[in-house]
Amino acid sequence: MPDIIDKNRTTLAIFAAAAVILALLPGITSGYLISFLLLMFANVALATAWSFFSGATRYISLATAAFFGIGIYTLAITHVYIPVGFALLAAAAIGFLVAVIVGLSTLRLRGVYFVVFTFGLTELVHQVINTWEIKINRTATRYIFSDVSNVTIYYVLLAVALITVVGSWYVSQSRLGYALRAIGEDETVARHTGINTTWVKVLCFALSASAMALVGAVLALRYPYIDASIAFNNSWSFQVLIAALLGGVSRYWGPMIGAIPLVLLSEFLAGTFPHHFSIALGLCFIVIVYFIPGGLAPLIERYWQRLRDRVRARLAVAA
């Protein structure tokens, strides 16, 4: 099937070119663009990780902020004892472990119950950690002593974003990816065709959570100090969810596309008009459901195909 190879070759070329340009960027550009882009990479990684599990299985999770915050706290606690690199790995591992425990006990909940449960989970972890810090540590804040430069964080997040997108693509082509989508289509049927649904769901939920925790840990390196309400800020869950839905969860590159306008919006609106940002976010939700339920990705694909057909037709005529 030469067409598929051809198509993948184009995608691969675009990816490679973008990666090279982004990798060379810190040498030639200013600090602001770097810190803007690293936030973009973080959001791309989060939205892709979210979509990897929730998009395929249709288990809408609002626990992104919980795992993100767990990553932040793991780094904040461990980075004074062990090298930063290990602290990042520890964050990913703890995110994975917590997700396995949560997943085993709750992934039998479906629909609304799961949404509410994951939303509550963030609040629960938030409150428990906050109380723990105040009662046991006698202080609500933790300082982060990091000499990691923005450029290093930029490269790490670029790598994390690339790994999540490529990993998400790779898994979507594999047996695991088919199993995930089968669960999303009809879980009972999936179980009857011999898919170990519990195992597949828990593994993918945990993989997605460990990526979220890792992103949280890396971003934490930029904060001078953290507390529970910074780490477990629910708006991360919503922003990531909208980015993924806006881009479209049916393509592995959809959430990446969706993250771009959302980060731009939050960059220019959230700082100066936080309440208006919340209104804009709400309108985004509504517009997506009514007007672009499949997200932008299928639309882009259709236009791209039409464009290519037209160009081919022209070329054929010219020849």
């Binding site: 509410v116 940002f277 939700f285 509504i286």
Partner: protein
């Protein structure tokens, strides 16, 4: 004795949770729309009561003459123009739930954002009927007692409507099976729209009652939405009769837990209870297995 007082306060607060959850259970149990902007109607009612006493120097209970029609009309419009298109295109309840959750989350953000822009995020509160009352040796505030009695009266009235009137019979039929209800000549869309609107009005009323003794802000809504949802799931979706009892149970557990363990962990205790029920009895406490 202190323990009894804590218990009593939990009971009174639980009555409020029950009332709020009653509104949500009308919307989710009968009209089949999970409305996550529900708490914003509660906050709206609280704000109107606050303005009534602080700006216009009137009795906060009078505010319901403003807030109930607004909440009712707004909820009706939301159902009629935003939810019915979703119901039409949804292949099953799961798909409808997913769409409704997203849209009402959007509405939640819009309403909360507007409230923050126009009313700011400050914590609001006022004193009304803040007089001690002695019951069996325990001391409680009169406003809590009045609010509780109001909640019980509303719940009983609602129960009476559902149990003894023709509209109530139609609504009970819709709860059991909306398709079959349509087949026997009940206008399911009209009844659902009305009951959805009534749920919104109930939220605004509860907001007025609660605002007499709890301070609130533009961002309080989500907390009450979550608590209402916990109570609804505890009672069982569509089980209107058990809702008040489940609310009281939550209030008592929260109050006793907060007193015996730690007051800053109330939300954690709520969710502990919620998760326990979800895992052990996912269809609710008051349903026949």
């Amino acid at each position: 004795m202190i323990l009894f007082e804590v218990f009593l306060n939990g009971l009174l607060l639980g009555g409020m949770y029950g009332l709020i959850a009653l509104g949500l259970n009308l919307q989710y149990g009968i009209a089949r729309i999970l409305n996550l902007s529900f708490g914003e109607f509660f906050v709206g009612g609280a704000f109107v009561a606050f303005f009534t006493i602080m700006l216009w120097k009137l009795n906060p209970f009078l505010s319901v003459f403003v807030s109930i029609p607004i909440a009712f009309a707004l909820s009706w419009l939301i159902y009629q123009f935003m939810m019915i298109p979703l119901i039409r295109r949804a292949p099953d309840q799961d798909a409808l739930d997913a769409d409704a959750v997203l849209v009402t989350f959007g509405l939640f953000f819009v309403f909360q954002g507007l409230a923050l822009v126009y009313w700011s995020g400050d914590l609001r509160g006022y004193t009304y009927l803040s007089v001690p009352v002695h019951i069996f040796g325990a001391t409680i505030a009169l406003n809590r007692l009045v609010a509780f009695l109001g909640a019980v009266a509303l719940a009983l009235a609602l129960y009476g409507v559902l149990r003894y009137t023709r509209v109530g019979a139609a609504l009970r039929a819709i709860t059991i099976d909306p398709v079959a209800a349509g087949l026997v000549g009940i206008d399911v869309k009209k009844h659902s729209a009305l009951v959805f609107a009534a749920g919104g009005a109930l939220a605004a009323t509860a907001g007025m009652l609660v605002s007499t003794f709890v301070s609130f802000s533009a961002t309080s809504g989500v907390e009450y939405t979550l608590k209402a949802l916990i109570v609804v799931i505890m009672a069982g979706v569509g089980r209107v009769t058990g809702t008040l009892a489940a609310g009281i149970l939550l209030g008592v557990v929260e109050a006793l837990g907060g007193y015996l363990i730690d007051p800053s962990l109330t939300l954690a205790i709520n969710f502990g209870l919620f998760m326990l029920i979800l895992l052990v009895r996912p269809t609710g406490l008051f349903t026949r297995a």
